[in-house]
Symmetry: C2
Subunit: 212 residues, 2 copies
Amino acid sequence: MQIAIVLFDRFTALDAVGPYEMLSRAPGAETVFVAESAGAVRNDSGGSLALVADRRLDDVPAPDLVIVPGGPGQSAQMDNETLLGWLRRVDATSTWTTSVCTGSLLLAAAGLLTGRRATSHWLALDTLKTYGAEPTGERVVTDGKYVTAAGVSAGIDMGLTLLGRIAGDEHAQAVQLLAEYDPQPPYDAGSPEKAPAAMVEQWRARSRFILE
Amino acid sequence: MQIAIVLFDRFTALDAVGPYEMLSRAPGAETVFVAESAGAVRNDSGGSLALVADRRLDDVPAPDLVIVPGGPGQSAQMDNETLLGWLRRVDATSTWTTSVCTGSLLLAAAGLLTGRRATSHWLALDTLKTYGAEPTGERVVTDGKYVTAAGVSAGIDMGLTLLGRIAGDEHAQAVQLLAEYDPQPPYDAGSPEKAPAAMVEQWRARSRFILE
């Protein structure tokens, strides 16, 4: 099973590494980071983190599983036909096509989520709808072979959920145990329903700035 | 505030990226990935992931916050005096010295955790004790300026906890909200207390293989 994780300038690192850490542990998985050009790809936090894309998009024509992360740099890719065309081509033969955070906007822009239940970062759900998907409030949404996760850290839950589908519950539980994924956040502010209302409204007002 | 995240061959990616994603969002933070040599550093999963170390250890002599991840490659560093000596020197002036997973074994090997309460990956707690620390079963342990996290994903909780100490509760909650860190694992097998007993015993029996 070949897993391709897409990188682009100003992606969010945890969007990519969360599901990577779960799914790369699937039996027989070959995981490759891909980008338009091979080499270091810088993230959204001042570019202080770089992951290496070992392969170009064109070098990976038929992955079994595609993971598209999000991040502020997603907006610059929404009309990048090189990337969107690749997404359409690999989706034609993929077993699973997935995203984390605003990565779902790229899948939607490629036309792959039209009429499908899907999710995205909570600040991007309205935008996701304008691209033809049917947003839900769930953290991980599965519609056929399309699996989309909410913002950033939701990719870990998506990865573990999908690992269970691919490799079985017992294997997924072993990966959870070895990653000691028994989360204990020190605050309970991880969703717009749980965070202080004023904070949520403040970020909603700034969301255009964040997402573009 | 300068944050240095240490990389070494066969580190575990989420150990480094989890706390990075929280702490790099501290106001005024400059985050640098450091390694013995600058350049791409490959991880523990067949080297399919590489993070770029932009600076050599010697180029970062006085970070305010040090983060040491773990991973199977940690065992090869336990007598690496270049790394251990750097850890001792930067610890002399750091505000916070931290680790995730088996990264605490490196701090302990450098003599920094002697007599201190600390934690590590659940499979490494006995080894941590042989290096003079006092292991606890908590997910995030703070003893003075030393903050250690349990296995892999615990680094996210460590990062968010420390972000609250550094930047205040409200800032940390905003980072949690934007990272949508409202975990919903599909299984409840993330600790040795919660996973199936037979699975835990199986991995304990194999732990020497995993950790070395």
